[in-house]
Amino acid sequence: MDHNNCRENLSAYLDGELPPVERAAVDAHLAGCPDCRAVLDQLGGVSRLVKAQGLEPVPPYLKGAVLAGPKKAAYPWLKPVLALSAAAAGVLVVMNLTNVPEPGSFSLGYNARSSADFGAAEAKLETEAGSTLPPEEPAAPAPATPAARVSGGERKYSSVASVRGAYSQAKFSARATAPMGALAGGAGSSLEMSPAMEYRGPVCVQVYRPSSPAETDAAMYKARTFLEKTGVRVATAGPGRLVFVKNGGGRVTLTEKDCSYGFIFFDGTRDPLIVPDPASVPAEYAKYFGSPAP
């Protein structure tokens, strides 16, 4: 066995996965090759490191979600009732506030709607949030580029949460709506972003009062996972509370009472800001909804 052949087989040799003949050949080569012996030692070290890495803990809600199984629609007439109660009881929705390049104009359009579709296999709860903000300045004519053509300067932001079994999954999206030509894929592409869109900085978390501790756990866990992806550090997220970690140190706890309804803005430096109505978004946060930086 030559040097290259030996190297190719060292990993399987380490695992005891070589047939006897090949194993004997590797043994013979190793006896006279200190380089290959050194590589074998290092591969053993890699193996030990990966083993020591261990397993990530399983999210606590997963068991309940699996054992609950997919929800079935037992009573079709319950659908509108469930939709209303789901909206009232609520789930935590993480919104990724995105914007569309549109130099010279600023306007937000929010619509509030909740519905629940309890299908045979899974239930989905969809929430679109918002109301309308007045323009920061008079809207400029829509730009000529197709990617940024927005009728009347109106933009819509939506988020989608899907509920499967006993847990709610915070998903988010900026979804194409009729006046929002800049988003790719139409209304069905809820998880698709156009390259024209841009995420900048802070996140906004919209929280409704959860209907059960299990639902809260799941939603908070999802929220935390998402928030950490955005760079926001969340120390803990448990039933009815989120603890944010500020960039400069220090923690801010939001309780269920704080979160019972509203939009939370957090940019990592100041205390999280809770506004009950999107129309009252203050000017210092409004920039995050505007045109991208040049």
Partner: protein
């Protein structure tokens, strides 16, 4: 074996397999849940419960493959992560106060762990999963071939490539964090 026993026994590995395949916790949670729901539905057809692990891991890999094929979410997450200069899953964990004497050792372990995580993240998802099935769950090459639906030779070369890539990356570390 009922659904609860199945979950208790295999959820750590299923979730971690999903995590290694998808590369992020949000997808891993969905994949693990879907895999278990499918498995529970098909549990009655499983004749040999001793093969439940292989069977369940295979379902997990297939759920992941289907998601990759049918969803564009992955590219969304990727774009999002790049904007932030890295995947949120790789962000350092929040630190819990530790006694002073343990701080240095903890930091050293954290550096090593972080370096290994970065190196693992650069592997191809299936090679990463093969390595985890081998190292963490102690699966044989034949079982890994069955789980991933790949030829035995592909498993052998995949694990070899994965280890070799990790070895080279860890050797390149400036201090003594190498795989010795």
């Amino acid at each position: 074996m009922d659904a609860e026993q199945l979950f208790e026994k295999f959820s750590p590995m299923v979730y971690n397999l999903a995590l290694r395949l998808s590369g992020n916790k949000a997808d891993a949670q969905d994949i693990a849940q879907d895999a278990f729901l499918k498995a529970v539905r098909g549990l009655g057809e499983l004749r040999e419960h001793s093969f439940a692990g292989t069977w369940l891991y295979r379902i997990t890999v297939n759920v992941w493959k289907n998601r990759v094929r049918s969803e564009k979410r992955r590219s969304f997450w990727k774009t999002f992560s790049l904007d932030r200069g890295g995947d949120g899953d790789e962000a350092p964990a929040l630190q819990v106060a530790a006694p002073d004497a343990q701080v240095d050792a903890a930091l050293e372990r954290r550096d090593e762990k972080a370096a290994l995580e970065r190196a693992l993240a650069q592997l191809a998802p299936e090679e990463r999963a093969m390595l985890v099935l081998r190292e963490i769950d102690g699966r044989s090459y034949a079982e890994i071939a069955e789980i991933t639906e790949k030829p035995l030779g592909t498993v052998k070369s995949g694990i070899s490539r994965a280890r070799e890539a990790l070895r080279l990356k860890l050797n390149a570390l400036p201090d003594d964090n190498g795989p010795q």
